[in-house]
């Protein structure tokens, strides 16, 4: 059976989810591009410590939804709450400052810079004392140590040489660097956009493992993916977009992949 969502966007979602307060909540978001309706009153809830997958066909509005949540687009209507407080992101930097870190599909890493420099890119830490305050010297040693600690904490124990340029890494390793960067700075929510799309089987498994590690550390994850096996492998709940609306929110326990595809394509009705 399919769990319906009511019109007010209050999802009587699976499990005990409704008894907790969402860390990130979107209420009836509307976004139009000219005459094209990207989002038609979509609501979404992300609860602490869960992996929420967002799936949907091309043009179903999942990218637009994610862009609204991460500040890349500004919704025309609707509200977004982080930790229960309303937030209004104008730019991706706003969302990041509030604690929503996004790993983009095209991997925002700088190939020529090393792993540690990439982890701290855009928020370099300076040395203490006059060297840092007046001469603005960065604390290379400290940042490298923190980078090592962070990678170890995420279970990426074999990527210990943080002085290697990112271009010398494989696709999976680069993804690991990008994810580590997203998780490294006390972020409240990590959003992963198609993290396994360009990866082989083994590297995909590494990234899925990384997502589980994030959950174990208590960082909730929004995972956008086309890959049903991956979604059903790691997600706690699955938000299904269809035609600019939330068609349903299901769980891997109560629904099969066939059910999910049926809702996605409209073969099964709410």
């Amino acid at each position: 059976m399919i769990i319906a969502t009511d019109a007010a966007g209050q999802a009587p979602a699976a499990g005990s989810a409704e008894t907790r307060t969402p860390i990130l909540r979107a209420r009836r978001l509307v976004k139009t591009f000219g005459r094209v309706v990207g989002l038609d009153g979509v609501s979404l809830e992300l609860y602490p410590g869960e992996v929420l997958a967002v799936i949907g066909d091309n043009g179903a509005g999942k990218s637009t939804l994610i862009k609204c949540l991460t500040g890349a687009e500004i919704p025309d209507e609707g509200e977004i709450f982080l930790d229960g407080k309303p937030v209004h992101f104008k730019r991706p930097q706003d969302a990041r400052a509030a604690g929503i870190e996004t790993v983009y599909q095209n991997l925002a890493v700088s190939p020529a810079l090393d792993v540690a420099a990439n982890l701290f890119l855009g928020r370099e830490e300076r040395k203490k004392g006059i060297l840092g305050s007046v001469f603005r010297v960065v604390d290379q040693k400290g940042m490298r140590q923190k980078a090592r600690d962070e990678l170890t904490a995420l279970g990426i124990s074999t990527l210990q040489d943080v002085t290697v340029a990112v271009e010398n890494l494989s696709g999976g390793q680069r993804q690991a660097v990008a994810v580590a960067r997203a998780a490294a700075f006390g972020s409240k929510v990590v959003v992963l956009d198609e993290p396994t799309a360009a990866l082989g089987v083994r590297e995909s498994n590494q990234v899925l493992e990384l997502i589980r590690n994030l959950r174990e550390r208590g960082i909730p994850v929004i995972l956008i993916s086309h890959n049903m096996p991956h979604v059903f492998d790691v997600a706690d709940r699955i938000h299904i977009q269809r035609l600019g609306k939330r068609a349903a929110t299901i769980t891997p326990e109560t629904h099969s992949m066939t059910d999910a595809v049926a809702i996605m394509t409209g073969a099964a009705r709410e």
Partner: protein
């Protein structure tokens, strides 16, 4: 141990084995060059010095070596500005023209308007900054390619220089001492050095430290490497680019001061060849024209290589055209090597 040993833990991402491609000697060399792009120009410079030293004993004479450094001082200074811009995947065809314009302003305002020398230098600096700001504005706001922008401003700055100066050279004798101070010489162990050379070296140290040790330096590399990634990492790409063009303008003004000292004059017709020579030094120094890779130390080596080749070939009695020929070959080899290095793990 009869059976195969336990598998490595899969929970940890077993990434170590993916560091392949380090096995063949050639790829190991390539990886090393990739990591330290200044190595290849350093080797070329050492070889060139040895070969020219063998060809003509006068080459290694301290006075001759000192002369090479003096000949390199101006182009070496301009090449620092050029390096900053090329690191951001840009290019500046107007560095020589800006330098000359700035030097004319320094000379004319002090000699013809009777302004104090310090103020004249300051006005020259303002001209350099304004030129940099103009280039930077066109690159960041109008989103024009740096090549086209500076091709245009090259003509503009050359014309402004000739209009402003009326084509007249200002001789060093007419200028206050401060303006020609960069040409002053001093002795270290019987070898003559000029203040200008010292100033150039100081500039290299300062810029190298800034690029290496500050967040701004890292951002310059990140922007040249991949501007979109840099933007998504929260770096303001336009601000970094603008600051690079401004810094370049200030360095060009310093170059103007060194040029006045070196030639003991301010000539509106000087520096035409410096536009391209600065690019030559940067490219031979191992900095990639695609941005994000290279060091100013490489550029210093590049400038010295060009100086050593010109000087060495002329001491060897070859026609001056062969110097130009040799520099051309150097450029092509340098870019080919860069291309090969960049193929690393692709």
């Amino acid at each position: 141990m009869s059976q195969h040993t336990t598998e490595p833990p899969t929970s940890a991402l077993d990434l170590a084995e993916e560091f392949l491609d380090r096995t063949t000697p050639l790829s190991r060399i390539r990886n090393t060059l990739h990591r330290y792009p200044a190595i290849s120009p350093a080797i070329v410079l050492v070889l060139a010095v040895i070969v020219f030293g063998l060809l003509n004993e006068r080459f290694l004479h301290p006075a001759n070596l000192s002369l090479i450094t003096q000949q390199v001082a101006v182009v070496g200074t301009l090449a620092v500005a050029q390096t900053l811009i090329i690191l951001t995947a840009g290019i500046d065809l107007s560095v020589g023209a800006v330098m000359v314009l700035s030097s004319m302003v320094m000379a004319q305002t002090t000699v013809h308007l009777g302004i104090p020398a310090v103020l004249g230098l300051f006005l020259g600096l303002v001209v350099g900054l304004a030129a940099g700001a103009f280039n930077g504005f066109l690159v960041t706001r109008l989103k024009l390619p740096p090549f086209i922008v500076t091709l245009g401003t090259l003509s503009i700055f050359v014309a402004l220089t000739l209009l402003y100066s009326g084509g007249a050279t200002v001789r060093g004798g007419e200028m206050p001492e401060l303006l020609t101070a960069m040409g002053a010489t001093f002795d270290i162990g019987g070898v003559n050095f000029t203040v200008g050379v010292l100033m150039m070296l100081l500039l290299y140290v300062v810029v190298a430290l800034i690029l290496q040790k500050t967040a701004w330096g890292r951002h310059v590399y990140a922007v040249g490497d991949d501007p979109e990634s840099a933007r998504l990492a929260g770096i303001s790409v336009n601000r970094v680019l603008m600051s690079v063009y401004l810094a370049a303008g200030a360095i060009l003004a310093l170059g103007a001061w060194i040029q006045i000292g070196r030639t003991n004059a301010a000539s509106p017709n000087a520096g035409a060849e410096l536009n391209l020579d600065s690019i030559t030094a940067v490219v031979i120094g191992g900095t990639s024209l695609f941005g994000g890779r290279g060091t100013v130390w490489g550029t210093l080596l590049g400038a010295l290589i060009v100086g050593v080749f010109r000087n060495g070939l002329s001491l060897a009695g070859l026609d001056v055209l062969w110097q130009t020929f040799a520099v051309g070959v150097l450029i092509i080899v340098a870019v080919a090597v860069d291309q090969w290095i960049r193929k690393v793990r692709k």
